[in-house]
Amino acid sequence: MDLDRPLFATFWNGVIDLEHDSINRVIEKYERLIEEGKISGSKCHACTRIMVPPRPVCRTCGSTDIEVVEVEGQGRLLTWTTIYVGPPSYENNVPYTVGIVELTNGERLTGIVDIPVSELKYDLPVTAAFDDERQGAARLRWKKA
């Protein structure tokens, strides 16, 4: 194992074809969509709530009738931090900024903030972009809207 490359970046590209696969693979679905430059959430067919990032059970009504759907990547910056001491996988990126963004649908999502620190302020409008150097959920970057 090499901490410089987070283990979880070990991607699996096969096909699961189990007779009765009862596992709702929300993370794999999120990652497949983010590879296409799309942010996604879980839509509950029982109460219609869309949660971002997607989850296998609805937090509002407890339903498991969940489908992963694309959502709009627009929002406003709630909070942020510039990190000067990072893990080995980000040591070539310091300092870098991460932030939590509230999307237009009210859901929230964490990502790298790709905006000069001097321009950052509470509620700054941002839009999702995607880093081609990284894979999976790590691709998300917030840019100025």
Binding site: L7, T10, G14, S22, E31, R55
Partner: protein, 387 residues
């Protein structure tokens, strides 16, 4: 201390499950267990999870709160317990203790591991860390290596041989043919076991349990509440845990586990039962020799008779003491943290008549034995079909 019932069980398919987190696996197994019991997430008071190492396998520690989180529950206490391959058994046991002690009224006991992300050599390294790092692991002792040394000691003392060990593997693979959730669905022969590649002499590839992803879950409630839920309840007659030295070389007997003896005796005593009262067993067969030693140490066979019993078919599904009808760790698969939970799931399902094609007729009392490291932790449970 209140009596306790298992009223729901769930389990994912065991195998190489691809890009999925153990958290998603536990969620799936838990949903199945909740549906089985006829309950909803909001009914859950607390969660336990057995997991060996989310850090090594998934770059994720702190697995416990992730489960109520994914079940859409907030704020429910969630605790991870770890004792190597006995982590799952401790998850069940702590759920049972929490209900028996009156702390909670409905507890989800889960277990999971996502192991196939790593190459075999790294899994070997990770599992070896369950033994003494300084005085065993740094010297190249692997998990199969530790059991191989015990197998050789057992062979010397009791004349156990490779064919007897192979009979355990053949039996458990045969059982797994009837378990759609088992990792392997293929018949093997004694010759196949004997002629497969050597892992740690005298144990070959087919003497060893595989690398597996999977999760299992059970719902535990007070016995007095059992009729509030759907289906046939199972009574937890007893639970027991024991420890031993980390290093094999610090134990006087290398042909079995003192820990298994002690935990089994405690479990029998608490349940006021004897080995002859047990109708069905799930045993920790991480290696074929482990099943043989456990049956002896638990008192089902005299020392040296465990291998013969397998060879003679006594522990087959249709034998007089069915052992590992689920396929065992050997063929059902061994997702470390899930294993101890899956053993209880299998026994509970057998006692409730819900074991599908592999249902054993007329079983009323079943027992599990879950082992951690090279026997440094043992957890046993005895379960009985309820009314």
């Amino acid at each position: 201390m209140r009596d306790v019932a298992v009223i729901g069980t769930g389990m994912t398919k065991f195998g190489s499950l691809g890009r999925v987190t153990s958290r998603e696996l536990v969620t799936a197994a838990s949903i199945e267990a909740m549906k089985d019991a006829g309950i909803e997430p909001k009914d859950i008071d607390a969660v336990y999870i057995g997991q060996l190492s989310g850090d090594i396998f998934e770059h994720q520690m702190h697995a416990a709160p992730g489960i109520p989180d994914y079940l859409g529950l907030a704020n429910v206490p969630a605790t991870r317990v770890e004792a190597a391959c006995a982590s799952g058994g401790l998850s069940i046991m702590h759920a049972v203790m929490a209900v028996a002690g009156g702390f909670y009224d409905l507890v989800l006991a889960a277990g999971a591991e996502k192991m196939t992300n790593l190459p075999t050599a790294h899994v070997t390294e990770a599992l070896s860390m369950c033994a003494d790092d300084v005085f065993e692991v740094s010297l190249g002792v692997t998990f199969p290596g530790a059991f191989a040394m015990m197998a050789r000691a057992h062979d010397k003392e009791y004349g156990t041989n490779a064919e007897m060990r192979a009979a355990v593997a053949v039996k458990n693979h045969e059982h797994a043919l009837l378990n759609p959730k088992a990792q392997f669905q293929k018949q093997i022969s004694i010759d196949k076991v004997l002629n497969s590649i050597m892992i740690a002499d005298p144990l070959t590839l087919y003497d060893c349990s595989p690398i597996t992803d999977g999760a299992a879950a059970a719902i535990v409630v007070p016995w007095e509440d059992r009729h509030k839920y759907e289906g046939i309840p199972v009574k937890v007659r007893s639970f027991a845990q024991a420890s031993d030295t980390m290093s094999l070389h610090d134990r006087s007997d290398l042909t079995g586990f003192t820990t298994t003896k002690i935990a089994a005796q405690k479990a029998f005593r608490m349940a006021n039962l004897e080995p002859k009262d047990i109708d069905i067993l799930e045993i920790h067969d991480c290696f074929t020799i482990a099943e043989i030693m456990a049956l002896e140490d638990m008192g089902f066979y005299k020392k040296g008779e465990g291998g013969r019993a397998a060879l003679d078919g006594e522990t087959r599904r249709d034998g007089h003491l069915p052992v590992n009808v689920s396929g065992g760790l050997k063929a059902k698969g061994h997702p470390i943290g899930a294993t101890g939970v899956a053993q209880v799931v299998e026994i509970a399902n057998q006692l409730r008549g819900k074991a599908g094609k592999r249902q054993v007729a007329d079983v009323e009392i079943g027992m599990t034995q879950n082992l951690g490291g090279s026997g440094s932790t043992i957890v046993c449970h005895i379960l009985e079909r309820g009314d």
